[in-house]
Amino acid sequence: MSAKIRWTGAVLGVLGLAMILVLHWMVFFWVPTERTMGVVQRIFYIHVPSAWVAFMAFGIVAVCSAIYLWLKDERLDMAAQSAAEGGILFTSIVLLTGPLWGRVAWGTWWTWEPRLTLTLLLWFIYVGYFLVRASTENPQRGKRFAAVVGIVGALDIPLIHLSVVWFRSLHPAPVVMKPEGPSLDPRMLATLFVGLGASTLIFLSFFLFRYGLERMRQASAHREMAPRETPAPEGAAQ
């Protein structure tokens, strides 16, 4: 792995970890308790940043995949693959923390309402992204198919965001990204922004390391495929 990737990843990781520690102090000791939901509302400060990072990761997948289909540059495919892995993990956090919050706030672990259903669909689409990659005998073909899945899957992101506006939904409407401005308590908003910053830095750090890993794998594969200089058999004509 190049020193540039290693150092940038390490610096982003350390900054992200520091912000996560600040976030935990804010969540558990500083931010006020929400009036109607009580302490369980504090799940918001990891649930929403995880959703933001997942959307950003899948956005990177879509952009890199589109340019990969155009330029056929292997590095773009590696970046898309690395971002997709992070996106799946952060979507998993969203899908696991949401029901814990919903159980207390709504009285149910899960309901098939539009936003939850579309988020689960997003998770399945990007699991499919990896299945498609591995399902073809020709790796180049698998990469092309996966790139198409990566682009189509990202179309689900605006649907998830707008589903609470378009449909009757149990999930709360946006409290930050709305035309009239955020309707959160300033301390809650500050905590949310620290959470967004921390999760973004952590994701970018791991994304760089994951990308570096993919570059090294490619180097290793090229080395194995390169013709080796075999010594001439004994007795052969010189």
Partner: protein, 75 residues
């Protein structure tokens, strides 16, 4: 006579139940009501533990794969 008796019972019940009805309609402190009904400490701690577990799991996974590839490249 029967109607007077019935009216008296309804009025008495109304007077007796009025404070409780007022409490249920929100005259009590809302934060106290929230604390009574929604105790989500366990759920909150589990949610944060899951987030940590996923992130740490990803770190370990990347580190192990990196070590494996570095070893393969050295050999």
């Amino acid at each position: 006579m029967r109607i007077r008796l019935l009216t008296g019972i309804v009025l008495a019940a109304f007077v007796i139940l009025l404070p409780d009805a007022g409490f249920a309609q929100g005259t009590a402190d809302p934060s106290a009501l929230a604390n009574q009904s929604l105790r989500g400490y366990t759920h909150m701690f589990i949610a944060y533990a899951i987030a940590w577990a996923v992130v740490v799991g990803w770190v370990i996974s990347i580190a192990r794969r990196l070590a494996r590839v570095e070893k393969a490249l050295k050999e």
